[in-house]
Amino acid sequence: EPEVTQTPSHQVTQMGQEVILRCVPISNHLYFYWYRQILGQKVEFLVSFYNNEISEKSEIFDDQFSVERPDGSNFTLKIRSTKLEDSAMYFCASEPAFENKQFFGPGTRLTVL
C-alpha cells in the first residue's frame, strides 16, 4: 500500500537556524497538510496546500513558516529562524480527491537547542 514518507526522522538544530522538513505524499493525492504536535499535547493543524498554493493556514503558521511543492513529488515545510518553542513532532498528510481520509507520514521530530 502506498505510504507518505518524511525525512529526516529526527533533526536537531540550533535556535535561529533554518530547517527544511521534507515529505513525499502519495502520488495521486491532491490535498496536502502539515500538522504539529508539541510533546504531550494534541496534534494541531499548521497549513493546507492544494493546486500549488496555500488553501488554509492556522494562527501558528506565521511568517517564519513557508511551504513549497518544488516538484511533482516533494512537499516541504521551511522554518526560517527556529525558536525553542518550535520543538515538536511535525506530520505531513495527504488526501486523495475521491475520499476524505487523510494519510499521515511517520513524522519528523524537531529539537531546537
Partner: protein, 108 residues
C-alpha cells in the same frame, strides 16, 4: 470551529480486559479517523469511520454521526495496545481537528 472531546483522558487496564474510548464532536463531519500514537510518536491510522461500524481484529469502532459521537472498542487488551489514542474529525478536503487523546496503559 469544531470541538472534539475525548474520554476518558487516562485509562489503566489489566491485560485481557476490554475498554471503550469515546469521542464527542460539536458539528456535522464527513471525516472521522481514529489513530494510535505509538512509543516512537508515529500516528497509526486505525479506522476511517465517518459513520457506521467497522472491525479490525480486536479493535472495532462505531460512529453515530447524527448524535455526534464515535466509540472505539478494544477487546482482550495487550501491552502493545498501550499508547495514546486520538480521534480526529473534519469535512472533506479540510484540516482535521484532533481531540486531546486518551492515554491507555495496559499492565501485564
Amino acid at each position: 470551529g469544531i470541538q472534539v472531546e475525548q474520554s476518558p483522558p487516562d485509562l489503566i487496564l489489566q491485560e485481557g480486559a476490554n475498554s471503550t474510548l469515546r469521542c464527542n464532536f460539536s458539528d456535522s463531519v464527513n471525516n472521522l479517523q481514529w489513530f494510535h500514537q505509538n512509543p516512537w510518536g508515529q500516528l497509526i491510522n486505525l479506522f476511517y469511520i465517518p459513520s457506521g461500524t467497522k472491525q479490525n481484529g480486536r479493535l472495532s469502532a462505531t460512529t453515530v454521526a447524527t448524535e455526534r459521537y464515535s466509540l472505539l472498542y478494544i477487546s482482550s487488551s495487550q501491552t502493545t495496545d498501550s499508547g495514546v489514542y486520538f480521534c480526529a474529525v473534519g469535512l472533506g478536503n479540510t484540516p482535521l481537528v484532533f481531540g486531546k487523546g486518551t492515554r491507555l496503559s495496559v499492565i501485564a
